[in-house]
Each structure stands twice: as structure tokens, then as C-alpha cells.
Subunit: 394 residues, 2 copies
């Protein structure tokens, strides 16, 4: 058998391990006494519009068509609805011919990377970063180069980026709002990034693509703007997923948008289609393609996440912990009061607080706290966080 695959299957994710521990612990002492902040699973239901769309579609006459194959890039009406939403919301050119429907964000990324990369290429991302980026990049035959961010803000360290870009760079992969830091890249950052990539593409005589992984686009708080990257950099692929915005993570539905302004965009889109084919993706799930066509611009009630962020951030800070203020997503990235975040997480476990060490996100000395949980659980967990802080003399 294949040893890379065996390795990936047997080294189960740290997040999943903690989650499984939490289930066992809940059976011992009651679910209400375990404060599980491990998983990025949306805690709010999909909007009613999703259930209405499913019900309406099931009342149609032609179930063979409803559940039938769509074309590889997706149902045309769905692709048109998405393109119209992109044009209307972000003021960039977009049309159905540049939308490729996928089985969610992981598929969007694996397909995009496989379409772009050749053996020996490098893909640059910024730590902390979603743990699976390394896996997906290696599937595409390339190597992930994770650069440290500015430690005070978790924004891009441009000196580090300039030093890392090279003729081997196939793509820069960004994730804003970020998992696990919650940080959003503002307009100035994006402009600077775009200018640098344009300059280096010209210098090296190869297109450096920008891949924007944005499942958390709509999960931002306090009116923060998330700049739309195709408006700033032409060689952009947007990898989108409805997992978080519509609370549909299990249904595996998302898309890739290849900017029509990208160089050789028609060929690039065909490479995306070819990568989908090569990886065994025949089409995205057909019922949910049609559902999300009817739910463009809608989201679940994400206000609960903002409330959770505010409660948790102010409490943790008052106990003496240090976090970078997250403007989006549903994660807090908190500094571990001891250098080894794994040891800190073990200690937190003694208070039945389940946190994820930052090491797997490429950022030792931090922990991720996923606050996509009920406000009641957060309230119950605060005394445990306070005791944990005291145990460190904070």
C-alpha cells in the first residue's frame, strides 16, 4: 500500500483526537461539564431559506433531473447565480464560464493547487494556517512554505514574503478571515500583496497565482471589510465554501472562481476542470448546487458568533490571557502562558477545557479556541478559564 496515504490516515488530526476525547469525557461527567472548543463546526442552524429551497426543489416534477449528473463544472443556472452575486457584491467581472462547482473548500483547494502546480513548485502561505494546506499542496506535487506572520498582529510579514518568493513560487495561498487567528487582511495589506506579486511575476517571467481560501468571508464582526482579491490582483482564484456561511459543512458544496482577468484564464479554467476530473470529482452534489443557487447572499444567523467572541475575548483578557483580537471567523488564537502549548492544553484538560495547540497550525506557543458553540457553554466555561489562569499565576 501507499505509505504517504497510510501515514495521513493513521496520524489522525490532533483536532479530531481532542474532539473524540471530549465525547468520552462527556460520557463520564456529563456533556454540560465539558467545555469543548476543538471543532470548527457551525453551531447555528442553516437559514430557513435553505430548508425552504430543499422543500421546493423536492416538490418539482422531475426527480431524475434533480438528482441527476450536472455537467462537470456544475449546473449552469447555479453558476450564473453565483457569477451575478460576485458582480453585484464586489464589482468585478464574473460570468458562469469562470465558476467551477466543488465538493467544498478542501476540494476547491486541492483542485486549484493541482491545476496550478508542477512537481518542484513552491506554494507560500502564512502561519498560522489551516493544517491541511500542507497535505493538499503535497498532493499537487508541490511544497508548502509557511512564513511566520508579524507576531504582534498576525498580519503578513512582507519582508519575509519578499525573501521567500522565488522563480519556484507557483502560488501564494491566503485565508482571510483566518483560521485559526481570526485576523482579516485590510485593503492596504491586499494592495501591497498584489503589487509585490505583480512585480515578482514580471521579474521571474512566470505568473504567481493568488489563491484566496475564503470560507469565513461573511463571518466578520463590527463592520470590518474583507477586500475581494480579484479586484486587486488579476491572477486570482477564489476558493469558496458554503460550509460556514450557510452552516452546511457536511453537504460539501462550494466553488472555485477563476478571475476572468487572469492570464490565459480560459486555459486555467480548463486546467481546473481537468484537475477535478483527475481527482475523481465528477460534479458537486446536485441537490445542494440547486439549493445554494437560491440562497445567494444569505447567511445563517452569525450574530451569535460575534456575541461569543465579545464575551470570550473580554473574559480571557480580564483573566490575564493574551489574544490578538479576531475580526472574523469563529476562532480565538490565544497565547499559551507557558512556551509549550501542548502542555498548556493538557493542563486545560484538567479543567475540562478542550483547546487545540497551535503547533499543527504552524505556530507554536498558541492555542486555538473555536467559539462556534452555544453562548450558554461559554458562560459555563468562564470559571474554568479563570482557574486555569490562576494556576499560572496570571
Amino acid at each position: 500500500m501507499n505509505q504517504r496515504m497510510y501515514g495521513l490516515g493513521s496520524k489522525s488530526s490532533v483536532i479530531r483526537e481532542i474532539f473524540e476525547y471530549g465525547k468520552r469525557r462527556a460520557a463520564e461527567i456529563g456533556a454540560e461539564n465539558v467545555y469543548d472548543f476543538s471543532l470548527g463546526n457551525p453551531s447555528v442552524a442553516p437559514p430557513q431559506a435553505v430548508e425552504d429551497a430543499i422543500a421546493q426543489l423536492l416538490q418539482g416534477k422531475d426527480m431524475t433531473a434533480l438528482h441527476g449528473y450536472t455537467s462537470g463544472p456544475g449546473d449552469m443556472a447555479t453558476r450564473e447565480a453565483i457569477a451575478a452575486h460576485i458582480r453585484g457584491s464586489f464589482g468585478v467581472p464574473a460570468d458562469a464560464a469562470h465558476i467551477y462547482m466543488t465538493c467544498g473548500a478542501a476540494a476547491s483547494l486541492t483542485i486549484s493547487l493541482s491545476a496550478i502546480c508542477n512537481a518542484g513548485d513552491e506554494v507560500i502561505t502564512f502561519a498560522p494556517y489551516f493544517t491541511e494546506y500542507k497535505v493538499f499542496t503535497e498532493t499537487a506535487g508541490a511544497r508548502l512554505l509557511a512564513l511566520p506572520s508579524d507576531p504582534a498582529t498576525f498580519q503578513i510579514d512582507f519582508a519575509a514574503l519578499e525573501g521567500a518568493l522565488s522563480p519556484k513560487t507557483a502560488a501564494v495561498l491566503v485565508n482571510s478571515p483566518n483560521n485559526p487567528s481570526g485576523v482579516v487582511y485590510g485593503r492596504e495589506t491586499v494592495k501591497k500583496l498584489a503589487a509585490l506579486l505583480a512585480e515578482k511575476s514580471a521579474e521571474y517571467g512566470r505568473t504567481i497565482y493568488l489563491i484566496s481560501d475564503e470560507p469565513y468571508r461573511e463571518l466578520v464582526y463590527g463592520g470590518v471589510e474583507v477586500p475581494y482579491l480579484p479586484a486587486y490582483y488579476k491572477d486570482t482564484l477564489v476558493c469558496y465554501s458554503y460550509s460556514k456561511s450557510l452552516s452546511l459543512p457536511g453537504e460539501r458544496i462550494g466553488y472555485i472562481f477563476v478571475s476572468p482577468q487572469a492570464k490565459d484564464e480560459a486555459a486555467l479554467f480548463l486546467a481546473v476542470c481537468g484537475a477535478g476530473r483527475a481527482l475523481g470529482y465528477v460534479c458537486a452534489p446536485s441537490l445542494f448546487q440547486k439549493v445554494i443557487a437560491r440562497c445567494q447572499g444569505m447567511t445563517s444567523d452569525v450574530s451569535v458568533y460575534e456575541k461569543n467572541r465579545n464575551t470570550l475575548l473580554s473574559a480571557l483578557t480580564s483573566y490575564g490571557f493574551t489574544c490578538v483580537r479576531p475580526d472574523g471567523a469563529f476562532y480565538l488564537f490565544m497565547r499559551s502562558p507557558e512556551p509549550d502549548a501542548n502542555a498548556f492544553c493538557e493542563k486545560a484538560k484538567q479543567y475540562d477545557l478542550l483547546l487545540v495547540p497551535g503547533d499543527d497550525f504552524g505556530c507554536a506557543g498558541y492555542v486555538r479556541i473555536a467559539y462556534c458553540v452555544s453562548p450558554a457553554m461559554i458562560a459555563r466555561s468562564l470559571p474554568a478559564f479563570e482557574k486555569l489562569a490562576r494556576s499560572y499565576g496570571l
Copy 2:
């Protein structure tokens, strides 16, 4: 960008091209005058049980859980239902721990091949074979060796197989009932295959896996038996899909069953999990995982396919065409009356008969006729087939 992916995306499938031609032609002369036998898209609706299961699930209280992530290998209740069905129907050991839920047959195959193969390995299959086998095998870093079948019966040519097996052979990939020939491998064939693979595995000191691609398992006619391969050969992976049996091709739902009797089965299952992860499959679509758990052992009304087979086979034979009698699936593989099946398909087009040349299935001189169409269309098409036969002097 990646040239392999660009190539796969830009060389669209011949089947799709013919299908698109059919749609244009239908706009010109009316859909009722075009006899499109190109696509293997089920023509019968899913059984009522599917719609009932969806409706019931949507009446549940917890939409967050219904549409939420399942674990990577799938929803435990679904995996248990499938394992129970396998035990009950085929009398082989099976348990939930050996079932990995997938986004359909293409995903099942790509994941299985990636779990098993290493660079430089060979995978053996028998022509005619489903066109994408080559693509999926190459994604896994291996080379597909397609052996000709016995031309009179399209059964396995064992002399050819014995000559092709080598220390490089990672797997033999079979598809019974077969797309595109409709042929089913009987018990004696399967026993002979199992004995040969066991002998060669011992001789080479490496496990040669048997991959059984069986989306057409339930589509068999006249009471023909489809032997269950894990009952005959221990190192078997079954790649199953509900696309054809429940008429859900667009919903992308299927599974891999790793036989518990396989060598190092626990490690092999982990390699399957790892391959799913590496290829960007997070979990199979959650709603349809729960739907198919409630529809084990059910099928769409496949009797229409048997009726279609009988009508078409007897008519074509009476016009002078030659086909191997298909016992299953919904395809006829007909001998072209001229050596070049592409030229024959062009001629057929003049009568608005849309057939697919066998070349892409690794079998020149034949055409595939997908009879998953309405009986009315078959009846309307017969005069055109008769004229086509006459034009060849049959």
C-alpha cells in the same frame, strides 16, 4: 499551470461531446427526432423511499447535525447499515469499521487506487473498460494495463492475464456488470481469477489487490447472479455507488468496503482514509449518507432497463447487427459493421442515432449504446437503426 490537468480539461470526453451535439440537434429538429444513446444517466426516478427518507430527515429537530460534518469515514449509523446489508446479502464478514463513505464511484476508485499504488506500479483491467480508469490510475502514480477480453464473449482472457501479471502489479480492477459491454463475470470466472491472483501474490511476495467497481451490481436481468468478490478473494476492495441503483448520480454518494479478510486490513483501511484526506474529500455528503442508510437493499424500478435491453437486442439482431448479449448494466456493445467505429458513428448521426465509439473504452470496432432511455424513444429509433443496417447492406 499543470499541463496534465490542462490536457484532461481541454480534451473533453467523447461521450460529452456527442451528448452536447444531441442537444444542439434536438433544438434544430425536435427532441423527439433525435435518438440519443450517449449518456449513462439513469432514466428512471429514484424510488419513493428516497424522497420519503429526505422528507423525514428534514422534519428532524437538529438541522445543524443533519447538515454537519460526519467523521471522515462517514456517519456511523450509515456505515453500520451498509455492513449489515453486506453481511445479510452476501454472507461475508463486514463491519462498520471497514466501510468508508465516498462521493460516488469515481471517488471510490481514485481513493482506493491512491491508497494501494506506489509510483511505477501497474494496475490491470480488461477492455472494454470505463474510460476514466486510466485517468484515476495515473492520478495514483501508476500505469493502467488494459488487456483485451475474449472477443467472442468479452469475458476475461486468462492467458493474457497470466502473461501480464508481474511483480509490478498492484491491483486488478474489474467491473461486472461491465460498462460498456454489459457482461457479468460468473462464479467460475471469479474462482479462476481469485486462484490466479492468490498464486501470483504468493509467487511475487506482494499482495495483488482486487478492486471491484460495481455501480451496476443490481442492474442484472433474467435472474443472473453477480458473485460477491470478497467471498472469493480476501484482498478485495469493493467500490460501490448508489448512482445507478437508486438513480442518484448527481448526489455523489457511494462507499469503499475493505474486506476484513484482507491482509493488514486495518492499515489498508487507514491508507484509504489517508487517500481520501489527501485528495480533498472531507466526508461524503451528509444528508445523502443518512438517506441511503434508510434505503439499503432498495433500487429504482430497473425493470424498464430489462425491457429496453430485450427490445433493442432483438431488433438490432434482426436487422443484422452483432452484439454480445448483455446480462447487466444498461449498455449494449455492438460490433461496428465497418472497422472504424468512429466512421460508423458519423454515419449513424445521419439517421440521428447518437452512439459512442468503443475506441475510448479500449476496444476499437465497437459502439456503446446506452439504453437508459425511455421505451418510447427506443420504439421511435428502430426504423432509423433499420435504415442504418440497410445502408451497410446488412
